[in-house]
C-alpha cells in the first residue's frame, strides 16, 4: 500500500452532533418566544434583539482578532448569548442597553475567563444583572405604548388578579420573552432532542412553587401557582438559563441539588425581595455553586457497593468550612437586624415626627388621618395619579392638631422613585386652606453637591407659603411667579422629582384628605 493508513485510538466513529448543533438547537427552541415577542411588542423589540446579538458577535469576533485566537463565532454560542439577553430585557429599553449588556456578557464573563465552556456564570444572565445594577429603572420599566405596565407578578403581589390565559400565552407586559406557551414549546423540543434533561427545570420550578405556596400563605391555588410560574422570568430562567450546560452541574443528582437550591433562592427573593430580579440573581448565585456541586455529586459507578464495600463520598473540607462561615455570618446578621429592628422602627417614627413638626410648626400633636389610612391601604403601593407625577407613591398622611385638638393642617409623606439615585421620600405640610407650609426630606440619597442640594433651606423655602394647585420646574432659574420653582443647577432630575412629589401631595391633600 503506497498511502499511509490513519491510526488513532478508538472509537473510530463519532455521532453527528457538534457543539454548533447543540447551540443552534437551543436558538431554534427560542424562536417561538422570539417571534411572539416581536409580534407582541413591535419593531423596537426586534431592534433590541438584533442589537444584542450583533453586539455579542462583534465583541467575540474583535476579542478573537485582537488576541490572535481562532475565530469562534461559528459555534453559535455568542448568538445564543445575545438572543437570551435580548429576550430577558424590557421591550422599551433604549438600544444602548442591549449593546452594553452583550458587551459585558461576552467580554468580561466569557472571553476574559477563557471563552466557550470556561465562563463561571451564564453570560446572558450576568449581562442582565450588570444592566440591572447600572440602569435599574430602565430595566424594570415594563411600560408598553405609554401604558403603565405592572407585570402580572407585581399585580399579584399587591393582591390584584390576573388573566391566566393572557399571561400564559404572553399577552401581557413583561420582557420580550414573555410568552410562557412559546417557552414551553421550545423546551419540549430541547427535551425531545436531548439537549436538556428534566432534572433542573422540574426541581427548580417545583421547589419555587411549593415554597411560594407555603411561604406567602396563598396555598396551592392553581391561578396563583400559574402566575408564579409564568411571571418574573421563571420559565425563561428555569428552562433556558439554569439549564445552560456550561454553568450547571453535570450529573443528575447534582442537577437536582442545583434546581432545588435555585428554587429556594428564588422563593426567598420573591417573598422578601423584588420579584423582577429574583430569578436572575438566584441563577447567578447557583452558577457559583456549580463547581462545588460537581465536585461532590459523583454518582456511584455501576455495581459499586451492591456486592462490595462502597467508599463514602467525601465532601471537600473547604465546602464545609465555607458553609459554616456563611451560616454563622448569616445568622449573626439576621440576629443583629432582629435585635435592632425595634430601635430602627422607633427612629423612623421619630424621624417622621420630626419632619411633620418641621413642616407644620403650628401643630402641637399629630394623629393619623383616617381617610388617608384607608386610601393608602388600598392604593398605597400603586403609582399615585396614574403617572401624572411620575412614579410617586403616597405613604401616609397625618393631621396636625393644635393644643385644643382642632386641625391646623396636614402632613403628607410621599415617595418618588424618579430620583437620580433611587427613591426620595419627603413630607409636605399643607395648611387647612391649601397653602404649602414647607417640605422636609426623610429619605434622600442623591449626588452630593448636586441632587443633595435640594435639602438646602433656601431651595426648600421656595415652596413655603404658596397656595397653588401645582408647581412647575423652571430649569433656567430666576423664577418670579408663585408656581415656579428654580431647579438646583445641574440637578434637574432630582428637582423635577421633588416638584412632582410635592404636586402629588397637594393633589392628595385636596382630594383625599378631609
Amino acid at each position: 500500500m503506497e498511502k499511509l493508513l490513519n491510526v488513532s485510538s478508538g472509537p473510530h466513529i463519532r455521532s453527528k452532533l457538534t457543539t454548533g448543533f447543540v447551540m443552534y438547537d437551543v436558538i431554534l427552541a427560542l424562536m417561538p418566544a422570539t417571534f411572539f415577542g416581536v409580534y407582541h411588542f413591535g419593531f423596537h423589540a426586534f431592534l433590541i434583539l438584533a442589537t444584542s446579538i450583533v453586539s455579542a458577535c462583534l465583541t467575540e469576533y474583535l476579542f478573537d482578532v485582537l488576541t490572535e485566537r481562532p475565530n469562534t463565532l461559528r459555534d453559535g454560542s455568542a448568538v445564543l448569548t445575545g438572543l437570551l439577553l435580548g429576550l430577558c430585557l424590557s421591550p422599551t429599553v433604549p438600544l444602548f442597553v442591549p449593546y452594553l449588556g452583550s458587551l459585558f456578557a461576552i467580554l468580561v464573563v466569557k472571553c476574559f475567563f477563557g471563552g466557550l465552556g470556561q465562563n463561571f456564570m451564564n453570560p446572558a444572565l450576568a449581562g442582565r444583572c450588570f444592566l440591572l445594577i447600572s440602569f435599574g429603572t430602565l430595566m424594570t420599566d415594563f411600560g408598553v405604548d405609554g401604558v403603565s405596565g405592572a407585570t402580572p407578578l407585581a399585580v399579584l403581589s399587591k393582591g390584584g388578579t390576573v388573566n391566566a390565559a393572557e399571561m400564559f400565552l404572553g399577552f401581557t407586559s413583561g420582557t420580550i420573552g414573555v410568552s410562557c406557551a412559546a417557552m414551553l414549546l421550545g423546551a419540549a423540543y430541547l427535551l425531545i432532542v436531548g439537549d436538556i434533561t428534566w432534572h433542573i427545570p422540574v426541581s427548580y420550578i417545583g421547589t419555587t412553587l411549593v415554597l411560594m405556596a407555603i411561604g406567602t400563605g396563598q396555598g396551592f391555588r392553581p391561578l396563583f401557582l400559574l402566575a408564579e410560574m409564568c411571571g418574573g422570568g421563571l420559565l425563561l430562567g428555569a428552562l433556558f438559563m439554569a439549564t445552560d450546560p456550561v454553568t450547571s452541574p453535570i450529573t443528575a443528582p447534582g442537577q437536582i441539588v442545583y434546581g432545588v437550591s435555585l428554587g429556594i433562592l428564588t422563593a426567598l427573593f420573591r417573598i422578601y425581595g423584588n420579584s423582577t430580579e429574583s430569578v436572575s440573581y438566584a441563577i447567578i448565585l447557583g452558577n457559583l455553586f456549580t463547581p462545588l456541586i460537581d465536585k461532590v455529586a459523583i454518582p456511584k459507578p455501576f455495581g459499586l457497593g451492591d456486592n462490595a464495600k462502597t467508599p463514602k463520598p467525601r465532601i471537600p473540607k473547604a465546602a464545609v468550612v465555607l458553609t459554616v462561615v456563611t451560616l454563622v455570618s448569616g445568622v449573626a446578621l439576621g440576629g443583629v437586624n432582629f435585635m435592632t429592628r425595634d430601635t430602627i422602627e422607633a427612629q423612623k417614627l421619630a424621624a417622621n415626627a420630626a419632619s411633620y413638626q418641621a413642616v407644620l410648626a403650628d401643630a402641637e400633636s399629630f394623629a393619623l388621618n383616617e381617610s388617608a389610612v384607608d386610601f393608602v391601604k388600598e392604593y398605597g403601593s400603586e403609582v399615585y395619579g396614574n403617572g401624572k407625577y411620575g412614579k410617586v407613591y403616597i405613604n401616609e398622611a397625618v393631621n396636625g392638631l393644635d393644643a385644643s385638638g382642632s386641625v391646623v393642617g396636614y402632613a403628607i409623606s410621599v415617595t418618588t422613585a424618579d430620583g437620580f439615585d433611587g427613591n426620595v421620600t419627603l413630607t409636605v405640610g399643607v395648611s387647612g386652606d391649601g397653602t404649602v407650609n414647607g417640605i422636609s426630606f426623610t429619605e434622600l440619597n442623591e449626588t452630593a453637591g448636586m441632587g443633595m442640594r435640594v435639602d438646602e433651606d433656601e431651595w426648600k423655602a421656595q415652596f413655603a407659603g404658596k397656595a397653588v394647585d401645582s408647581f412647575t420646574l423652571n430649569k433656567a432659574g430666576g423664577s418670579t411667579a408663585d408656581n415656579e420653582i428654580d431647579s438646583v443647577s445641574g440637578a434637574s432630575t432630582t428637582s423635577g422629582a421633588v416638584v412632582n412629589a410635592v404636586n402629588a401631595a397637594i393633589d392628595f391633600a385636596n382630594n383625599h384628605v378631609k
Partner: protein, 445 residues
C-alpha cells in the same frame, strides 16, 4: 414486552448490512501461518517446538506457562520455519512461531473423535478446554479454563451465551448462530452439565431476528435453555451490562461474573468448547468478519488461527477503494492498524476497512468542553467522563481515582456522543495505564 437492556449506552449506526447476510465460508490459507505466543490475557505461552520440527494440525506448539495462560495449537501441518519477532498488531513486534504450511492440513491423531460429555467430570472437562487452548474469543482473550473453575461452582445459576454482538459492522457471531446453532447449544449443554444448578440464556440483540429464530429453534426441547432478545444498543455485549440485562444483578468493576453466579461466554467461545469437548478438536479456527466500505466483497469466514490478514483480504477481492483506516475489530473498540501483514490471533474477530475516517473529521470540529453531560448520560457504568477529563488533564490522579475513573472500560460511548469531539477514551486509556503503572511501582517497593 420491552427487551432487556441497561442504563446508558449509544446508538451508532450498525452498518451490519454490508455482511450480515453473507453465509460463513471456510477460508483455506495458502501461505505461512504465524502464531504469536501471547494471544490471551496472562503469561505468554512457552514454545515446545524448534525450528524445522514437523508439525501436524491440532498439535500443541506452545504450552501454557502457568494457570492463567493458554496453549497454542497449530492449525495447519508443515514444519516450523522460525521462532522470531513479527508484527502482530499496530506497531507491536512480538515473539511468534512461524509455520510453513504444506497445504495438506494433516490432522493429529485422535482429532474429530466423538466424545460423550455426560460421562466426563467437571475437572475432566476443564482439562480438555485447557488443553484445547481456548480463550475468550469475543475479544477479551481471557483463558476459558480459568473462567470454568470458579471458587463457588455450586452457586452458579446462570450460563449466559453472549450473542449480543453490539459492535457495529461485525456479523460473524450472527452468522455463526444462524448456521451453527447446534454447536452453540452444544457448548451451553456442556456447561450446564458442569454446573447443574444453572440455567442457560442465549442473549442476542434484537437487530438479529434470524439469529434469534435459529437459536430459538435450536434450544427448543431443552427446558433449561432460553433465548433472550436484548435492546440493540452499544455496549450491550459488555460483560457487566450483559449480566445486568439478563439477571438484573449489578457487577462492580472488582467483581467476576462468577461472584454473581454467572458464567458468561461468547457464542464463538461456546462453539469452541463444544468442539473441544465433544469432537476432540482443539482451537484451530474461529469466526471472522471482513467488512467495511472499502472492501470489494465483505464476508464472514471460518478462518484458521494464524492466517495472514492480507491473504484473507485478497480472498474478499481486495479493496475497491483506497481505505483511510483499517481496524482490527469494529469501529467502537477496535484497533487501527498500519500494516496488513499480520496474523489473525485468537481474540480478533473482524477486519473493518473504512473509506473515511470520522476521527479525522472530528478533530477539525473539536471545541472546548461545553459540559453538556452527554458523556455521563451514555456511560454504561455510570461514570462522569467530563470530571474524569478535568482530573486527567490536570494529572490529578488522586481525584481521578476518587471519582472511579479507573473503572472505565474504554467502550468509547462518551467519545462517540461528545458534541465537542473531545478525545475522551484515548485520554482515559492513557491515564488508567499511568495509574496502574504507578500502583505497580508502589507495590514493588
Amino acid at each position: 414486552m420491552r427487551h432487556s437492556t441497561f442504563r446508558g449506552g449509544v446508538h451508532p449506526g450498525d452498518r451490519k448490512e454490508l455482511s450480515r447476510n453473507k453465509p460463513i465460508q471456510y477460508h483455506v490459507p495458502k501461505g505461512d501461518l504465524v502464531y504469536p505466543l501471547s494471544q490471551h490475557i496472562g503469561k505468554p505461552a512457552r514454545p515446545v517446538v524448534k525450528k524445522n520440527d514437523p508439525v501436524l494440525a491440532g498439535q500443541i506448539i506452545a504450552e501454557a506457562d502457568g494457570f492463567v495462560s493458554a496453549n497454542i495449537i497449530s492449525s495447519c501441518s508443515g514444519k516450523v520455519k522460525s521462532i522470531e519477532p513479527r508484527m502482530t498488531s499496530a506497531g507491536v513486534m512480538a515473539q511468534c512461531i512461524v509455520i510453513e504450511n504444506d497445504g495438506k492440513f494433516t490432522l493429529k491423531e485422535g482429532i474429530g473423535e466423538k466424545c460423550d460429555y455426560t460421562k466426563l467430570s467437571r475437572s475432566e472437562i476443564v482439562k480438555k478446554v485447557q488443553a484445547a487452548g481456548i480463550v475468550g474469543l469475543g475479544g477479551a482473550g481471557f483463558p476459558t479454563h480459568v473462567k470454568l473453575s470458579p471458587k463457588n461452582p455450586d452457586e452458579i445459576d446462570y450460563i449466559i451465551a453472549n450473542g449480543a454482538e453490539c459492535e457495529p459492522y461485525i456479523t460473524c457471531d450472527d452468522q455463526l448462530m444462524r448456521n451453527r446453532a447446534d454447536w452453540v447449544v452444544g457448548g451451553i449443554k456442556v456447561l450446564l452439565h458442569m454446573f447443574p444448578t444453572a440455567k442457560g440464556v442465549v442473549a442476542i440483540e434484537d437487530n438479529k431476528p434470524e439469529a434469534l429464530a435459529a437459536m430459538e429453534k435450536a434450544v427448543s426441547g431443552d427446558e433449561r435453555i432460553s433465548v433472550l432478545p436484548l435492546v440493540t444498543k452499544f455496549p450491550q455485549g459488555g460483560e457487566r451490562n450483559l449480566v445486568h440485562a439478563v439477571t438484573g444483578r449489578k457487577m462492580a468493576s472488582t467483581d467476576l461474573p462468577a461472584n454473581l453466579g454467572c458464567i458468561v461466554d461468547n457464542v464463538t467461545t461456546l462453539t469452541a468448547i463444544y468442539r473441544a469437548v465433544c469432537l476432540n478438536e482443539p482451537l484451530m479456527e474461529k469466526g471472522f468478519t471482513v467488512t467495511g466500505e472499502a472492501v470489494n466483497e465483505p464476508g464472514n469466514f471460518l478462518v484458521k488461527i494464524g492466517t495472514n490478514v492480507q491473504e484473507l483480504l485478497e480472498a474478499c477481492g481486495g479493496f475497491k477503494q483506497e481505505p483511510k483506516k483499517v481496524l482490527l475489530g469494529g469501529p467502537m473498540m477496535g484497533m487501527a492498524i498500519t500494516d496488513l501483514n499480520i496474523p489473525i490471533a485468537k481474540s480478533y474477530n473482524a477486519l473493518t476497512c473504512l473509506v473515511e475516517d470520522p476521527v479525522e473529521i472530528a478533530q477539525k470540529q473539536m471545541t472546548p468542553c461545553i459540559r453538556c453531560g452527554r458523556c455521563a448520560r451514555v456511560c454504561p457504568i455510570g461514570l462522569v467522563p467530563q470530571q474524569m477529563q478535568v482530573a486527567a488533564e490536570r494529572k490529578d490522579y488522586k481525584r481521578y481515582e476518587r471519582i472511579h475513573g479507573v473503572d472505565c472500560i474504554a467502550c468509547g460511548s462518551c467519545t462517540f456522543a461528545c458534541p465537542a469531539k473531545r478525545p475522551l477514551t484515548q485520554l482515559f486509556k492513557v491515564t488508567k495505564s499511568a495509574i496502574l503503572a504507578a500502583r505497580r511501582r508502589e507495590a514493588a517497593k
